[in-house]
């Protein structure tokens, strides 16, 4: 009897448990869907915020840049979160942020602790229908996601090679177009861009300015305008170390450590020119050979007792005032730039030029200083001489770029000659070939060192991005088609501190830094990018690739 009464109890309990089990299962299913939607919504909002931060570069005014950011947030969000995704509805991009009045698609605001940092706050919500919970009156649930992306302002100095080889390969117009497209990628009124161009001297087109599109010129989807960049004419040598220093001097003067500071360096050849002060102020001696006919301010040669004090020095050049405290001012005196042949030309030098150019047309390039260095046997007429007037050359140029740095010299140590005390100079002894080889090593080392100093400055470490233009005869140059030596790709990778610099190296023209024993990069320093431009037509692609990299880094 008792067993008969118990029969069916399990069914009854099981049925009653359904009252609890089904809602629990339903809750599990519904919550699972909610999390799936939430996850997708979050990814969509993240993508929208990052695209919006990048879009702060688009527009000529701050207002248009903010509008651009909002439009991009919306466009990217809808690409990531299609209408009706998972049955969602009433999706809204509605950001309420105390830094913006009212509800906006995305809120753009300045970081309270860094004037050079902008935030983009982006929030979206959507309604997710429930499957089971609607039985209990919950027809839908609102799911929301927020994201905050940042964009640092960019302070960039373009360092553009306008040497003679750029002219001979007819790459000058391509360089100008590419540089203007580069400036067109950044935020006018917000980012700071300036430019120097260099041959055997340097011309400062503009310090970094937020008005760069007007000053330098630009090209982008909104239009194009002419500026300083359009005035560039190509002619002369390749004074890379000086150009890097003059450019960084402007970054240091602008002094915005909260921004992304960078040098955008383009060249089609090897560095071959540096600026020296041949007066050793520590030991009060001039670097002139005893056979030199150069005369000092008292018309005395060095063998005749001249050049024996700073007061007796002639003024080959009148010095140069630097803009920042990162460099010492260059004094007047026996200061000039010294050009050496490119390897394909053979061995020789060309002295002496004014390093500070008043303009960029050919009349301002290669200003020979024969007239201001009376008696010196500077070879002004041809490229076929050795150095007869100099006894030595300082181991650093007037900007402090080291030809024989203590650690990791790119070309190894140069041959030095002892001066008074512990002083050493770059040796110019031996045959023309020996002189040239030693000097050429030193120039390459100094160029590498110039970039090293930019990256390691304690107050304002900056990125170095590089573009090497391969030239028309790359990869195989013949005497007939040669217009110069191509850039040293190992040097360029070292300067950019880029271990993987082979983005456009097709067909392979050089090895990546990581596989070259002489290519040293440093993990703790800003890592830029080196781009190989196979020919002048690819310069635009190379410049755009760099701007794309910079805009990645800036947020």
């Amino acid at each position: 009897m008792r067993r008969q009464k118990q029969r069916g109890v399990t069914l009854m309990i099981g049925t009653m448990s359904m009252i609890f089990l089904i809602p629990l299962i339903g809750l599990g299913i519904d919550v699972g869907f909610l999390f799936a939607v939430k996850s997708k919504l979050q990814a969509a909002v993240d993508g929208g915020a990052l695209a919006a931060a990048r879009a702060l570069s688009i527009g000529a005014t701050t207002a248009s840049q903010q509008a651009s950011a909002q439009a991009h947030a919306s466009n990217w969000f809808s690409a990531n979160f299609p209408s009706g995704y998972f049955g969602t509805h009433t999706t809204a991009m509605a950001t309420n942020n105390p830094n913006c009045s009212g509800t906006v698609v995305a809120c753009v605001y300045n970081d309270p602790g860094n004037a050079n940092l902008q935030h983009v706050a982006f929030t979206a919500t959507t309604q997710v229908d429930t499957f089971f919970m609607k039985w209990f009156g919950y027809n839908y649930t609102v799911v929301g996601a927020s994201s905050d992306a940042t964009r640092r302002d960019v302070v960039a100095m373009m360092v553009l090679d306008r040497s003679g080889s750029m002219n001979q390969s007819s790459a000058c117009p391509n360089l100008i177009s590419a540089a203007k497209i580069f400036t067109g990628q950044f935020a006018a009124g917000r980012d700071y861009i300036g430019a120097v161009s260099f041959s055997d001297g340097t011309f400062l087109h503009s310090a970094p300015t937020t008005n760069f599109q007007t000053v330098l010129g630009y090209s982008n989807d909104a239009g194009t305008a002419s500026g300083q960049l359009d005035t560039i004419q190509c002619n002369g040598g390749t004074g890379t170390p000086e150009a890097i220093a003059i450019a960084y001097d402007q970054l240091a003067k602008t002094n915005l450590p909260g921004a992304l500071n960078m040098i955008m360096f383009e060249t089609d050849g090897l560095p071959n020119t540096m600026v020296f002060n041949w007066w050793d102020s520590a030991n009060n001696v001039a670097g002139l050979a005893n056979t030199s006919g150069c005369k000092d301010a008292n018309a005395k040669t060095i063998a005749g007792g001249g050049f024996n004090s700073i007061g007796a020095l002639p003024n080959w050049t009148n010095g140069h005032t630097m803009s920042s405290t990162a460099y010492n001012n260059v004094p007047k005196g026996i200061v000039a730039s010294m050009y050496s042949y490119d390897p394909w030309q053979g061995f020789g030098f060309y002295l002496a030029f004014n390093p500070w150019q008043a303009g960029v047309n050919t009349a301002n390039n290669s200003i020979y200083l024969g007239a201001s260095s009376p008696g010196c046997q500077w070879q002004g007429g041809s490229l076929t001489t050795n150095i007869t007037d100099l006894a030595w050359t300082p181991l650093q140029d007037v900007y402090g770029n080291q030809m024989n740095p203590a650690t990791n010299p790119f070309q190894g140590s140069v041959t030095t000659v002892n001066g008074a005390g512990s002083t050493k100079y770059l040796s110019l002894a031996g045959s023309t070939q020996t002189q040239w080889t030693n000097y050429h090593k030193g120039v390459l080392n100094a160029t590498d060192n110039a970039a090293y100093q930019v990256r390691t400055n304690n107050n304002l470490p900056a990125y170095v991005f590089g573009i090497g233009l391969g030239g028309n005869c790359t990869p195989s140059c013949t005497a007939a088609n040669r217009t110069g030596d191509p850039p040293d790709y190992i040097l360029m990778q070292r300067m950019a501190n880029d271990p993987n610099a082979d983005l456009y190296n097709t067909p392979p023209n050089y090895s990546s830094c990581s596989s070259e024993p002489t290519c040293v990069t440093y993990g703790g320093q800003p890592q830029g990018t080196f781009i190989f431009s196979y020919n002048k037509q690819q310069l635009v692609q190379a410049f755009l690739s760099i701007s794309s990299q910079v805009l990645r880094l800036s947020h």
Partner: protein, 219 residues
């Protein structure tokens, strides 16, 4: 009798929940890979792909033996049982100004089109979900890798996945990219994309998401 009802219910719930969890994970993996990509991680290197493999732990992403240097097509890992295929790409809209960079007289084949600036994929390109071979939602580019001294037009992309002539190379077109954007991108504007495919052969009897997961994220 109760078991007839409860067992299928719990089974259905378990499978659906597992697939839902996988879907959430897939979305997050896609987002993380894309976030790394936009910040400069080079997914043509084995090291970066190994990081993605760890991110996608549990999805069966296999990337084969390690290699040195760069390879944009480490996607033949079907023999290793890889259940995943990953694509990262940078696309750009080519407008009039971009075409102006070409030498006079050169036809700008890709004018007013979206193109791949970079393409890299890894894992198992032969992956099938519900019996259908996976394909990128951006369109399937026919980008031949340049090796040795070959160059465009014999090939299209280098070992870094960069398209060498994106203005004139019709193979570089991202044919379906336009369908994702409500507003056409402006000239020269880029978007970064991460796309993942994860097959679920062991959970292939649920109503949704059946057989596998596809996730795509634009940055």
């Amino acid at each position: 009798m109760l078991a007839f009802f409860l067992v299928p219910t719990f089974l259905w719930m378990f499978i659906n929940s597992m697939n839902m969890i996988r879907m959430i994970e897939a979305t997050e993996v896609t987002r993380d890979i894309g976030n790394q990509y936009i910040h400069g991680v080079d997914y043509t290197t084995y090291e970066a792909q190994a990081v993605a493999q760890k991110l996608a732990g549990g999805f069966g992403l296999q990337i084969g033996s390690s290699y040195a240097g760069n390879n944009p097509y480490n996607d033949g890992n079907s023999g290793t049982g890889s259940n995943a295929w990953i694509v990262v790409a940078e696309i750009m809209f080519v407008g009039n100004q971009s075409c102006a960079a070409l030498p006079m007289g050169t036809t700008c084949t890709n004018q007013n089109k979206y193109v791949f600036l970079q393409w890299a994929d890894f894992g198992n390109k032969s992956l099938q979900i519900n019996g259908v071979q996976v394909a990128s939602a951006l369109g399937t580019p026919n980008l031949t890798l340049c090796t040795g001294n070959t160059q465009y037009p014999s090939c299209d992309i280098n070992s870094n996945g960069m398209t060498l002539q994106y203005l004139v190379d019709a193979n570089a077109q991202a044919t379906n990219a336009a369908s994702f954007f409500q507003t056409q991108l402006s000239d020269g504007q880029v978007a970064y994309v991460a796309e993942t495919f994860f097959a679920s052969p062991d959970l292939n009897f649920s109503s949704y998401p059946a057989g596998g997961i596809h996730s795509i994220n634009f940055f």
